[in-house]
């Protein structure tokens, strides 16, 4: 049985995470308010939001580090608890290793806490450290490792138990480009093997490239939730950018477009409600236009993030 099949099989009975209407209040502030979402096997869920939006608190609740005041969380079909900790991996935003202990000892300890026997955890730590190029530094204390080596060892700690659910909080923060690329590859590999990945990030480019679905929250409330393509489409305004010759610029001659604007050799058509890009394409063909480039305008995630947090009503289409 391949590892993909194995993970899919283990997680087949229940979704890795189902969050239903959870609330968490610190002092007089609702840090998380009526939040619901789910995480499926074999996907990376991008968990986005401004600082203080409640992302870390939500992840800590999934991991049972703190408990919600209201609502429920299901991890592999059961409330979060120690029984799941063998199937989860966590890379917190604030992370480190015991400085005066050999890295392999720390990793073996973490592996044992995540359900492996001490001997198996030690073997796995040795293999993974060797795999990431730290085979010669097994006995080095964490305080003696370079920053880059330190980061690699932390990544190893996250996946030492080959988790089915991986929760990573700002995983690329502070990583050098080499380690960031390695971690991205590792997350994609875990996803391809069937693991569910929840990734909090402020880097919208990473989110757009890596994530299958996006959950954007602000002040603890869900603002966006869906696939990256659905969300981008929701914010496209029904606009299409066309480059070519003989392109009509009079809306009176077009059934599907309600507004036309020309700039830098590009014509931007704003579609009527209910009209599709295909309708426009067909009309342009009928009108003898010579189309060289036809693109549905879709803002990138960074723009969507800013618009959504600023209160753009289009967010409600994919909330």
């Amino acid at each position: 049985m391949s590892s993909t099949e194995q993970k899919a099989g283990e997680g087949s009975t229940a979704l890795p995470v189902i969050v239903t209407g959870i609330w968490k209040r610190f002092g007089s502030t609702d840090v998380v308010a009526d939040l619901s979402f789910e995480v499926r096997p074999g996907e990376i869920l991008g968990f986005l939001g401004p600082n203080g939006a409640g992302k870390t608190t939500t992840m800590r609740m999934i991991l049972d580090i703190i408990r919600p005041d209201r609502g429920s969380i299901s991890v592999f079909g059961r409330p979060p608890g120690v029984e799941h900790q063998g199937r989860t991996g966590y890379l917190p935003e604030e992370r480190g290793l015991y400085r005066d202990v050999p890295a392999i000892d720390t990793l073996a300890y973490f592996g044992a806490l995540r359900g492996l026997s001490l001997a198996a955890a030690r073997r796995r730590a040795r293999d993974l450290l060797t795999q990431v190029g730290l085979g010669d530094s097994l006995a080095k204390k964490a305080g003696e490792l370079s920053r880059g080596m330190h980061q690699k060892a932390q990544l190893v700690a996250t996946i030492i138990n080959d988790p089915d659910l991986l929760i990573v909080d700002e995983p690329f923060q502070g990583l050098d480009p080499v380690n960031a690329t390695m971690l991205k590859g590792l997350l994609l590999e875990q996803r391809d093997q069937g693991a569910a990945v929840v990734m909090s990030t402020h880097d919208m480019e990473d989110a757009q490239v890596l994530c299958d679905r996006i959950l954007l929250i602000d002040k603890g409330r869900r603002l966006l939730y869906g696939t990256v393509s659905d969300i981008r489409r929701a914010f496209s305004d029904g606009a299409v950018e066309v480059v070519g010759r003989n392109l009509p610029t009079d809306t009176a001659a077009l059934r599907s477009a309600m507004h036309v604007k020309t700039y830098d050799g590009t014509v931007r058509y704003l579609l009527h409600d209910g009209a599709t890009a295909q309708d426009l394409f067909r009309e342009l063909g009928e009108g003898q236009a010579d189309v060289e480039r036809f693109a549905v305008e879709a803002p990138n995630l960074a723009e969507i993030f800013i618009r959504t947090v600023a209160g753009d009503p289009r967010a409600s289409r994919v909330a």
């Binding site: 120690v82 917190p92 992370r95």
Partner: protein, 412 residues
Amino acid sequence: MSGAFSRLVLLVARRDYLRTVRRRGFVAGTLLLPASVVLVFAVSSLVSFDPTGGAAGPVLVVNESGVPLQVDPRLAPDVLLVSRDEAESRLADGSVAEFFVVPGAWSSQPNVRLVVGPEAGRSGPIEVVTRRQVAQAQVELLLRSSLLRAAGLPDSALGELLTPITFTSVTPDGEVVSDASVTAGFIVPYVFTLIFVLSIFITSGYLLQSVTEEKENRVVEIVLSSVPALPLMAGKVLGLGAAGLTQVAIWMTTAIVAIPLANQQFSIDVSVSPVTLALAMLFFCLGYLSYGAIFAAVGALAPGAREAQQYSSFFGFFAVIPLVFTPLFLTEPNSPIVWALALLPLTAPAAVLELLAVPGSSPLLVLASLISQLAFMAIAIFAAGRIFRATLLLYGTQPSVRRIVGALTGRA
């Protein structure tokens, strides 16, 4: 406790135990007592001699006074009367380290000179001083007996007059009791209990260090994602408590081996009763659990190691208060202050351990202190668990009083 919980507690306990007992500081601290005992025995063996016996060689006396001196071997067995030339010659060849000169002005001026040679310091200061004390005692007896003899006192009366009188302490049943044992009988258990008190704070300090270290190294959140806060705290308390018990066990073994040897070496009769030992162990555990829980909460609350040390020293201040009142424990073990110290939770661990060393202390007070400490221990562990869980993830920030109160009442 579920299987998963107990497994995690034991994993944390095992790690913290091994990590602590492998520290150089722990090894050095643990071996300090056995090493000190060995050193004391070694030094006492090296400098030991029979204080009532000879002076480790002849005591040469040169008489330049007009009083005739007559040596009585019963009173001054090592004294030899010699001429000045002979004394100087023997001093020069090193066969003696010094000699006494009774000057011409004696006995009108009660002063005797001690002529010391250049080699005198070779034997070590303690040996030299002790040898001279023995020699001076014999010379004094020589001079006084000679004066009395010159005054016409018969030899028989002289012997009776100058023979040292010995005193023997006995029980009403006639059993001989060593006077040294009376002092040592308190000092040994007292030192013993002080060691227990010390150990409580050393061990609680390890707990504080362990918690602050995990916060400062940013490891705590990774650990908490695997181990809930309460089993984490329980594991730490258990593991570091075991390290403390290891230390105490080594010290106790040292004491059990050393006390009979000390009795033999120093002619005393001291023992620490098994009941005292058992009670000391019990109060060690209670004291450690109470202070350990407080220190774990302090470690979770404090933004950094320095602040944690400062906060914990506040509690350490309470712990040493009973030591300040030691004279009162000795003279009035049933005074109200002693009772208060034995019943107040923060002073009780040290107070009750002191009480155990004092004969005549009230068993009722020891029992009341036990109940007080049991109750406080339960409250401390419960409260510390809540604070630990609520504040452990606060990095570099000082939790507000409101938050601490919220944690204690279960609202944070």
